[in-house]
Protein backbone atom coordinates (compact mmCIF):
# COMPACT_ATOMS: atom_id res chain seq x y z
CA UNK A 1 0.00 0.00 0.00
CA UNK A 2 1.41 3.30 -1.07
CA UNK A 3 1.71 5.63 1.88
CA UNK A 4 0.35 8.79 0.40
CA UNK A 5 -2.92 10.53 0.69
CA UNK A 6 -4.84 13.12 -1.21
CA UNK A 7 -5.37 15.99 1.17
CA UNK A 8 -8.43 17.44 -0.37
CA UNK A 9 -10.25 19.69 2.02
CA UNK A 10 -12.95 17.19 2.84
CA UNK A 11 -16.07 18.74 4.24
CA UNK A 12 -16.49 16.02 6.81
CA UNK A 13 -16.82 12.24 7.16
CA UNK A 14 -19.71 12.03 4.69
CA UNK A 15 -17.73 13.91 2.10
CA UNK A 16 -14.73 11.64 2.63
CA UNK A 17 -16.93 8.56 2.31
CA UNK A 18 -18.45 9.82 -0.92
CA UNK A 19 -14.95 10.39 -2.22
CA UNK A 20 -13.98 6.81 -1.37
CA UNK A 21 -17.14 5.42 -2.93
CA UNK A 22 -16.37 7.32 -6.08
CA UNK A 23 -12.67 6.42 -6.09
CA UNK A 24 -13.43 2.71 -5.76
CA UNK A 25 -16.39 2.94 -8.11
CA UNK A 26 -18.64 1.02 -5.77
CA UNK A 27 -22.40 1.07 -5.66
CA UNK A 28 -23.63 3.48 -3.05
CA UNK A 29 -26.65 1.21 -2.40
CA UNK A 30 -24.41 -1.81 -1.85
CA UNK A 31 -21.28 -0.51 -0.19
CA UNK A 32 -18.56 -3.10 0.39
CA UNK A 33 -18.14 -2.06 4.00
CA UNK A 34 -14.91 -3.92 4.66
CA UNK A 35 -12.94 -2.19 1.89
CA UNK A 36 -14.41 1.24 2.50
CA UNK A 37 -13.83 1.00 6.24
CA UNK A 38 -10.22 0.03 5.70
CA UNK A 39 -9.67 2.96 3.36
CA UNK A 40 -11.49 5.33 5.63
CA UNK A 41 -9.32 4.34 8.60
CA UNK A 42 -6.26 4.67 6.41
CA UNK A 43 -7.21 8.29 5.73
CA UNK A 44 -7.80 9.07 9.37
CA UNK A 45 -4.52 7.49 10.28
CA UNK A 46 -2.62 9.50 7.70
CA UNK A 47 -4.27 12.71 8.79
CA UNK A 48 -3.12 11.99 12.30
CA UNK A 49 0.39 11.19 11.12
CA UNK A 50 0.48 14.55 9.43
CA UNK A 51 -0.63 16.04 12.72
CA UNK A 52 -3.74 17.41 11.10
CA UNK A 53 -6.47 18.02 13.54
CA UNK A 54 -8.92 15.17 13.07
CA UNK A 55 -12.32 16.43 14.06
CA UNK A 56 -14.29 14.20 16.38
CA UNK A 57 -16.95 13.66 13.71
CA UNK A 58 -14.46 11.65 11.69
CA UNK A 59 -13.82 9.40 14.65
CA UNK A 60 -17.53 8.91 15.31
CA UNK A 61 -17.95 7.83 11.71
CA UNK A 62 -15.02 5.44 12.03
CA UNK A 63 -16.76 3.83 14.97
CA UNK A 64 -20.02 3.65 13.02
CA UNK A 65 -18.29 1.96 10.09
CA UNK A 66 -16.65 -0.59 12.35
CA UNK A 67 -19.98 -1.32 13.99
CA UNK A 68 -21.62 -1.85 10.60
CA UNK A 69 -18.74 -4.04 9.49
CA UNK A 70 -19.04 -6.29 12.51
CA UNK A 71 -22.81 -6.57 12.15
CA UNK A 72 -22.38 -7.63 8.54
CA UNK A 73 -19.94 -10.33 9.63
CA UNK A 74 -22.49 -11.99 11.92
CA UNK A 75 -23.10 -15.55 10.69
CA UNK A 76 -26.12 -16.12 8.49
CA UNK A 77 -28.72 -18.73 9.32
CA UNK A 78 -29.16 -21.94 7.35
CA UNK A 79 -31.18 -22.07 4.17
CA UNK A 80 -34.38 -23.36 5.87
CA UNK A 81 -35.00 -19.84 6.81
CA UNK A 82 -33.57 -18.30 3.74
CA UNK A 83 -36.75 -16.64 2.56
CA UNK A 84 -37.54 -15.23 5.94
CA UNK A 85 -33.97 -14.29 6.48
CA UNK A 86 -33.73 -12.42 3.23
CA UNK A 87 -36.67 -10.37 4.19
CA UNK A 88 -35.10 -9.65 7.54
CA UNK A 89 -31.85 -8.74 5.86
CA UNK A 90 -33.62 -6.32 3.62
CA UNK A 91 -35.20 -4.66 6.56
CA UNK A 92 -32.22 -4.73 8.76
CA UNK A 93 -29.36 -3.98 6.46
CA UNK A 94 -27.01 -2.25 8.91
CA UNK A 95 -25.89 0.05 6.11
CA UNK A 96 -29.34 1.45 5.48
CA UNK A 97 -29.11 4.51 7.71
CA UNK A 98 -25.65 5.38 6.42
CA UNK A 99 -26.74 5.07 2.80
CA UNK A 100 -29.70 7.32 3.48
CA UNK A 101 -27.43 9.97 4.97
CA UNK A 102 -24.92 9.72 2.16
CA UNK A 103 -27.59 10.16 -0.47
CA UNK A 104 -29.15 13.07 1.38
CA UNK A 105 -25.76 14.73 1.75
CA UNK A 106 -24.91 14.15 -1.90
CA UNK A 107 -28.05 15.99 -2.96
CA UNK A 108 -26.96 19.12 -1.18
CA UNK A 109 -23.39 18.78 -2.29
CA UNK A 110 -24.61 18.91 -5.85
CA UNK A 111 -26.89 21.83 -4.98
CA UNK A 112 -23.83 23.59 -3.57
CA UNK A 113 -22.04 23.03 -6.89
CA UNK A 114 -24.99 24.57 -8.66
CA UNK A 115 -24.82 27.60 -6.37
CA UNK A 116 -21.11 27.86 -6.98
CA UNK A 117 -21.68 28.02 -10.72
CA UNK A 118 -24.32 30.68 -10.30
CA UNK A 119 -22.02 32.63 -8.04
CA UNK A 120 -19.27 32.51 -10.63
CA UNK A 121 -21.61 33.72 -13.35
CA UNK A 122 -22.91 36.47 -11.10
CA UNK A 123 -19.40 37.64 -10.28
CA UNK A 124 -18.88 38.49 -13.94
CA UNK A 125 -21.58 41.11 -13.66
CA UNK A 126 -20.81 44.59 -12.42
CA UNK A 127 -23.04 47.27 -11.04
CA UNK A 128 -22.44 50.27 -8.91
CA UNK A 129 -23.91 51.92 -5.88
CA UNK A 130 -27.02 54.05 -6.21
CA UNK A 131 -26.35 57.69 -7.06
CA UNK A 132 -26.52 60.23 -4.29
CA UNK A 133 -29.91 61.80 -4.76
CA UNK A 134 -29.64 64.36 -1.98
CA UNK A 135 -29.72 67.15 -4.57
CA UNK A 136 -33.31 66.15 -5.25
CA UNK A 137 -34.38 66.29 -1.64
CA UNK A 138 -36.51 69.17 -0.52
CA UNK A 139 -35.50 71.11 2.59
CA UNK A 140 -37.84 69.20 4.89
CA UNK A 141 -36.90 65.76 3.54
CA UNK A 142 -33.23 66.59 3.72
CA UNK A 143 -33.41 66.68 7.50
CA UNK A 144 -35.40 63.48 7.68
CA UNK A 145 -33.77 60.09 8.01
CA UNK A 146 -36.59 57.65 8.12
CA UNK A 147 -36.02 54.06 7.33
CA UNK A 148 -32.49 53.48 8.55
CA UNK A 149 -32.08 51.32 11.64
CA UNK A 150 -29.20 50.45 13.93
CA UNK A 151 -29.19 47.05 12.30
CA UNK A 152 -28.64 48.63 8.88
CA UNK A 153 -25.71 50.52 10.28
CA UNK A 154 -24.20 47.44 11.85
CA UNK A 155 -24.53 45.64 8.54
CA UNK A 156 -22.91 48.52 6.71
CA UNK A 157 -20.00 48.30 9.13
CA UNK A 158 -19.63 44.59 8.47
CA UNK A 159 -19.66 45.18 4.76
CA UNK A 160 -16.93 47.78 5.08
CA UNK A 161 -14.71 45.42 7.03
CA UNK A 162 -15.34 42.56 4.70
CA UNK A 163 -14.42 44.64 1.72
CA UNK A 164 -11.34 45.80 3.54
CA UNK A 165 -10.36 42.18 4.10
CA UNK A 166 -10.92 41.43 0.43
CA UNK A 167 -8.65 44.34 -0.43
CA UNK A 168 -5.93 43.43 2.04
CA UNK A 169 -4.79 39.90 1.11
CA UNK A 170 -3.47 41.18 -2.18
CA UNK A 171 -0.50 42.64 -0.36
CA UNK A 172 -0.06 39.45 1.58
CA UNK A 173 0.10 37.38 -1.56
CA UNK A 174 2.91 39.42 -3.00
CA UNK A 175 4.78 39.20 0.25
CA UNK A 176 4.36 35.47 0.30
CA UNK A 177 5.87 35.05 -3.09
CA UNK A 178 9.08 36.59 -1.83
CA UNK A 179 10.37 33.16 -0.80
CA UNK A 180 9.45 30.64 -3.48
CA UNK A 181 9.52 27.06 -2.25
CA UNK A 182 12.14 26.21 -4.89
CA UNK A 183 14.48 28.88 -3.51
CA UNK A 184 14.04 27.66 0.02
CA UNK A 185 14.66 24.07 -1.13
CA UNK A 186 17.95 25.19 -2.66
CA UNK A 187 18.85 27.10 0.52
CA UNK A 188 18.20 24.05 2.66
CA UNK A 189 20.35 21.89 0.42
CA UNK A 190 23.17 24.42 0.54
CA UNK A 191 23.00 24.75 4.31
CA UNK A 192 23.04 20.97 4.67
CA UNK A 193 26.10 20.72 2.39
CA UNK A 194 27.92 23.40 4.35
CA UNK A 195 27.79 21.32 7.52
CA UNK A 196 28.52 17.94 6.04
CA UNK A 197 25.02 16.90 5.05
CA UNK A 198 23.24 16.66 8.39
CA UNK A 199 21.34 19.21 10.39
CA UNK A 200 18.76 19.48 13.12
CA UNK A 201 15.23 20.09 11.94
CA UNK A 202 14.78 22.94 14.41
CA UNK A 203 17.88 24.73 13.13
CA UNK A 204 16.21 25.21 9.77
CA UNK A 205 13.58 27.42 11.35
CA UNK A 206 15.90 30.26 12.21
CA UNK A 207 13.49 32.97 11.19
CA UNK A 208 10.36 33.47 13.21
CA UNK A 209 8.09 34.78 10.46
CA UNK A 210 5.11 32.57 9.83
CA UNK A 211 5.68 32.83 6.11
CA UNK A 212 9.26 31.62 6.42
CA UNK A 213 8.27 28.72 8.63
CA UNK A 214 5.52 27.57 6.30
CA UNK A 215 7.73 27.75 3.24
CA UNK A 216 10.52 25.93 5.04
CA UNK A 217 8.17 23.18 6.06
CA UNK A 218 6.77 22.83 2.56
CA UNK A 219 10.28 22.88 1.11
CA UNK A 220 11.23 20.00 3.41
CA UNK A 221 8.19 18.01 2.32
CA UNK A 222 9.10 18.62 -1.31
CA UNK A 223 12.71 17.57 -0.71
CA UNK A 224 11.49 14.37 0.92
CA UNK A 225 9.20 13.73 -1.98
CA UNK A 226 11.95 14.05 -4.56
CA UNK A 227 14.17 11.96 -2.27
CA UNK A 228 16.84 14.59 -1.75
CA UNK A 229 16.73 14.33 2.01
CA UNK A 230 15.95 11.87 4.75
CA UNK A 231 14.31 12.63 8.06
CA UNK A 232 15.07 10.64 11.16
CA UNK A 233 13.60 10.72 14.58
CA UNK A 234 14.43 8.31 17.38
CA UNK A 235 11.52 8.87 19.72
CA UNK A 236 8.29 10.76 19.69
CA UNK A 237 8.86 14.46 20.19
CA UNK A 238 12.63 14.08 20.08
CA UNK A 239 14.73 16.10 17.66
CA UNK A 240 14.39 15.31 13.98
CA UNK A 241 17.58 15.11 11.95
CA UNK A 242 17.65 16.00 8.30
CA UNK A 243 20.26 14.22 6.19
CA UNK A 244 21.17 14.77 2.60
CA UNK A 245 20.80 11.77 0.30
CA UNK A 246 23.84 11.38 -1.94
CA UNK A 247 22.95 11.86 -5.58
Amino acid sequence: MQYSVKLDGFEGPLDLLLHLIQTYEVDIYDIPVAIITEQYLHYIHTMKELKLDVASEYLVMAATLLAIKSKMLLPKHEDDFIDQQMELDMEEDPREELVRRLIEYRKFKSAADELKEREAARSLIYTREPLDLSQFEREDTAKRVTNVTLYDMLQAMQKVFQEKIIRTPKQTTIERQEIPIETRMEQIKQSLLSVGGKKRFSDLFDNASKEYMVVTFLALLELMKVKSINCEQNDHFSEIYITMIEE
Binding site: L14, Q22, M61, F108, L115, E119, S123, I125, Y126, E129
Partner: protein, 197 residues
Protein backbone atom coordinates in the same frame (compact mmCIF):
# COMPACT_ATOMS: atom_id res chain seq x y z
CA UNK B 1 -46.28 62.18 -21.53
CA UNK B 2 -45.05 60.41 -24.62
CA UNK B 3 -44.35 56.71 -24.57
CA UNK B 4 -40.68 57.36 -25.34
CA UNK B 5 -40.35 59.87 -22.60
CA UNK B 6 -41.81 57.46 -20.06
CA UNK B 7 -39.30 54.88 -21.13
CA UNK B 8 -36.55 57.46 -20.83
CA UNK B 9 -37.60 58.22 -17.25
CA UNK B 10 -37.65 54.49 -16.40
CA UNK B 11 -34.15 54.25 -17.80
CA UNK B 12 -33.06 57.17 -15.64
CA UNK B 13 -34.67 55.66 -12.55
CA UNK B 14 -32.85 52.39 -13.12
CA UNK B 15 -29.64 54.30 -13.60
CA UNK B 16 -29.83 56.24 -10.33
CA UNK B 17 -30.94 53.20 -8.32
CA UNK B 18 -27.76 51.27 -9.10
CA UNK B 19 -27.34 47.98 -7.27
CA UNK B 20 -30.12 48.77 -4.85
CA UNK B 21 -32.53 48.35 -7.72
CA UNK B 22 -36.07 49.63 -7.98
CA UNK B 23 -39.44 47.83 -7.81
CA UNK B 24 -41.93 47.87 -10.62
CA UNK B 25 -44.41 49.34 -8.14
CA UNK B 26 -42.08 52.17 -7.23
CA UNK B 27 -41.58 53.03 -10.89
CA UNK B 28 -45.33 53.17 -11.42
CA UNK B 29 -45.70 55.40 -8.37
CA UNK B 30 -43.03 57.85 -9.45
CA UNK B 31 -44.52 58.07 -12.92
CA UNK B 32 -48.05 58.16 -11.51
CA UNK B 33 -49.18 55.56 -14.03
CA UNK B 34 -51.01 52.30 -14.01
CA UNK B 35 -48.79 49.30 -13.13
CA UNK B 36 -49.91 47.32 -16.16
CA UNK B 37 -48.99 50.11 -18.53
CA UNK B 38 -45.62 50.53 -16.88
CA UNK B 39 -44.95 46.80 -17.10
CA UNK B 40 -45.23 47.01 -20.85
CA UNK B 41 -42.70 49.81 -21.04
CA UNK B 42 -40.34 48.04 -18.67
CA UNK B 43 -40.47 44.93 -20.77
CA UNK B 44 -39.83 46.89 -23.95
CA UNK B 45 -36.89 48.58 -22.32
CA UNK B 46 -35.56 45.23 -21.13
CA UNK B 47 -35.89 43.91 -24.65
CA UNK B 48 -34.06 46.86 -26.19
CA UNK B 49 -31.14 46.39 -23.82
CA UNK B 50 -30.61 42.86 -25.09
CA UNK B 51 -29.13 44.33 -28.26
CA UNK B 52 -25.35 43.92 -28.62
CA UNK B 53 -25.13 47.71 -28.98
CA UNK B 54 -25.83 48.06 -25.30
CA UNK B 55 -23.34 47.86 -22.48
CA UNK B 56 -25.80 47.17 -19.71
CA UNK B 57 -28.69 44.83 -19.35
CA UNK B 58 -31.72 44.90 -17.05
CA UNK B 59 -32.06 42.08 -14.53
CA UNK B 60 -34.65 41.45 -11.90
CA UNK B 61 -33.21 40.10 -8.66
CA UNK B 62 -35.41 39.60 -5.63
CA UNK B 63 -38.20 41.48 -7.32
CA UNK B 64 -36.24 44.60 -7.99
CA UNK B 65 -35.02 45.78 -11.34
CA UNK B 66 -31.47 46.88 -11.87
CA UNK B 67 -28.93 47.68 -14.53
CA UNK B 68 -25.92 45.38 -14.60
CA UNK B 69 -23.10 45.06 -17.08
CA UNK B 70 -23.03 42.17 -19.52
CA UNK B 71 -21.21 38.98 -18.64
CA UNK B 72 -19.37 38.84 -21.93
CA UNK B 73 -17.71 42.19 -21.22
CA UNK B 74 -16.50 41.17 -17.75
CA UNK B 75 -12.85 41.26 -18.80
CA UNK B 76 -12.99 45.02 -19.45
CA UNK B 77 -14.55 45.90 -16.11
CA UNK B 78 -12.14 43.67 -14.25
CA UNK B 79 -9.38 45.93 -15.48
CA UNK B 80 -11.16 48.96 -14.10
CA UNK B 81 -12.76 47.78 -10.90
CA UNK B 82 -10.30 46.07 -8.60
CA UNK B 83 -12.60 43.69 -6.81
CA UNK B 84 -15.97 42.48 -7.94
CA UNK B 85 -18.88 43.24 -5.65
CA UNK B 86 -18.50 40.11 -3.60
CA UNK B 87 -16.00 37.48 -2.72
CA UNK B 88 -16.68 33.83 -3.40
CA UNK B 89 -17.83 31.47 -0.66
CA UNK B 90 -15.98 28.49 0.74
CA UNK B 91 -17.22 24.96 0.06
CA UNK B 92 -18.44 24.65 3.67
CA UNK B 93 -20.39 27.89 3.37
CA UNK B 94 -21.88 26.85 0.02
CA UNK B 95 -23.06 23.50 1.38
CA UNK B 96 -24.57 25.13 4.43
CA UNK B 97 -26.25 27.73 2.27
CA UNK B 98 -27.63 25.10 -0.10
CA UNK B 99 -29.19 23.21 2.82
CA UNK B 100 -30.71 26.40 4.23
CA UNK B 101 -31.97 27.52 0.83
CA UNK B 102 -33.84 24.26 0.19
CA UNK B 103 -34.97 23.40 3.71
CA UNK B 104 -35.67 26.77 5.29
CA UNK B 105 -36.63 27.46 8.00
CA UNK B 106 -34.04 25.13 9.54
CA UNK B 107 -32.05 24.92 12.78
CA UNK B 108 -28.30 24.58 13.05
CA UNK B 109 -28.48 21.04 14.39
CA UNK B 110 -30.65 19.98 11.46
CA UNK B 111 -28.03 21.39 9.08
CA UNK B 112 -25.33 19.53 10.98
CA UNK B 113 -27.30 16.31 10.66
CA UNK B 114 -27.16 16.60 6.91
CA UNK B 115 -23.54 17.70 6.63
CA UNK B 116 -22.23 15.41 9.32
CA UNK B 117 -19.97 18.14 10.73
CA UNK B 118 -20.13 21.18 12.95
CA UNK B 119 -21.46 24.16 11.07
CA UNK B 120 -20.96 27.07 13.43
CA UNK B 121 -18.31 28.92 11.45
CA UNK B 122 -19.92 28.71 8.03
CA UNK B 123 -23.16 29.92 9.61
CA UNK B 124 -21.35 32.87 11.14
CA UNK B 125 -19.78 33.76 7.82
CA UNK B 126 -23.12 33.52 6.05
CA UNK B 127 -24.81 35.72 8.66
CA UNK B 128 -22.01 38.27 8.54
CA UNK B 129 -22.36 38.46 4.78
CA UNK B 130 -26.09 38.93 5.18
CA UNK B 131 -26.87 35.83 3.10
CA UNK B 132 -28.87 34.14 5.87
CA UNK B 133 -30.67 35.44 8.90
CA UNK B 134 -32.68 34.32 11.88
CA UNK B 135 -36.26 33.89 10.75
CA UNK B 136 -37.75 32.59 13.98
CA UNK B 137 -37.40 30.08 16.77
CA UNK B 138 -38.12 26.37 16.72
CA UNK B 139 -40.79 25.13 19.09
CA UNK B 140 -39.91 22.88 21.96
CA UNK B 141 -37.10 22.97 24.45
CA UNK B 142 -34.15 25.14 23.64
CA UNK B 143 -36.14 27.12 21.11
CA UNK B 144 -33.30 26.85 18.61
CA UNK B 145 -32.78 29.62 16.05
CA UNK B 146 -34.34 28.97 12.67
CA UNK B 147 -32.37 30.17 9.68
CA UNK B 148 -33.56 31.33 6.29
CA UNK B 149 -32.09 33.06 3.24
CA UNK B 150 -32.23 36.81 2.62
CA UNK B 151 -32.66 39.22 -0.27
CA UNK B 152 -28.90 39.52 -0.42
CA UNK B 153 -28.79 35.77 -1.03
CA UNK B 154 -31.02 36.17 -4.08
CA UNK B 155 -28.88 39.00 -5.36
CA UNK B 156 -25.63 37.13 -4.72
CA UNK B 157 -26.75 34.26 -6.93
CA UNK B 158 -28.73 36.32 -9.42
CA UNK B 159 -32.11 34.86 -8.49
CA UNK B 160 -35.47 36.52 -8.87
CA UNK B 161 -36.99 34.49 -6.04
CA UNK B 162 -36.29 31.37 -4.02
CA UNK B 163 -38.63 29.50 -6.37
CA UNK B 164 -36.09 29.94 -9.15
CA UNK B 165 -33.72 27.50 -7.49
CA UNK B 166 -33.45 24.36 -9.59
CA UNK B 167 -35.25 21.39 -8.02
CA UNK B 168 -33.08 19.19 -5.84
CA UNK B 169 -32.02 16.08 -7.70
CA UNK B 170 -34.08 13.32 -6.08
CA UNK B 171 -31.75 10.57 -7.06
CA UNK B 172 -28.46 11.55 -8.44
CA UNK B 173 -27.70 9.16 -11.20
CA UNK B 174 -25.27 11.17 -13.28
CA UNK B 175 -22.42 9.04 -12.10
CA UNK B 176 -23.92 5.76 -13.08
CA UNK B 177 -25.23 7.29 -16.27
CA UNK B 178 -21.79 8.56 -17.03
CA UNK B 179 -20.31 5.16 -16.37
CA UNK B 180 -22.81 3.53 -18.63
CA UNK B 181 -22.03 6.04 -21.29
CA UNK B 182 -18.34 5.32 -20.87
CA UNK B 183 -18.96 1.61 -21.08
CA UNK B 184 -20.99 2.13 -24.19
CA UNK B 185 -18.35 4.35 -25.63
CA UNK B 186 -15.46 2.02 -24.92
CA UNK B 187 -17.39 -0.90 -26.41
CA UNK B 188 -18.18 1.27 -29.34
CA UNK B 189 -14.54 2.12 -29.79
CA UNK B 190 -13.58 -1.50 -29.39
CA UNK B 191 -15.86 -2.48 -32.17
CA UNK B 192 -14.53 0.31 -34.32
CA UNK B 193 -10.88 -0.15 -33.53
CA UNK B 194 -10.38 -2.65 -36.26
CA UNK B 195 -11.58 -0.16 -38.77
CA UNK B 196 -9.21 2.63 -39.26
CA UNK B 197 -8.23 5.15 -41.82
Amino acid sequence: MERNEIKAVIEGLLFVSGDEGIDRKQIAQVLDKDSKEIDIYIDELKESYLSPDRGMTIVEYAGSLQFVTKQEHAVFYERLVETPGHSTLSQAALETLAIIAYKQPITRSEIEDVRGVKTEKPLQTLSAKGLVKEVGRAEGTGRAILYGTTKIFLDHFGLQSIKELPPLPENIQEESVEQEADLFFSKFQESMSTEDF
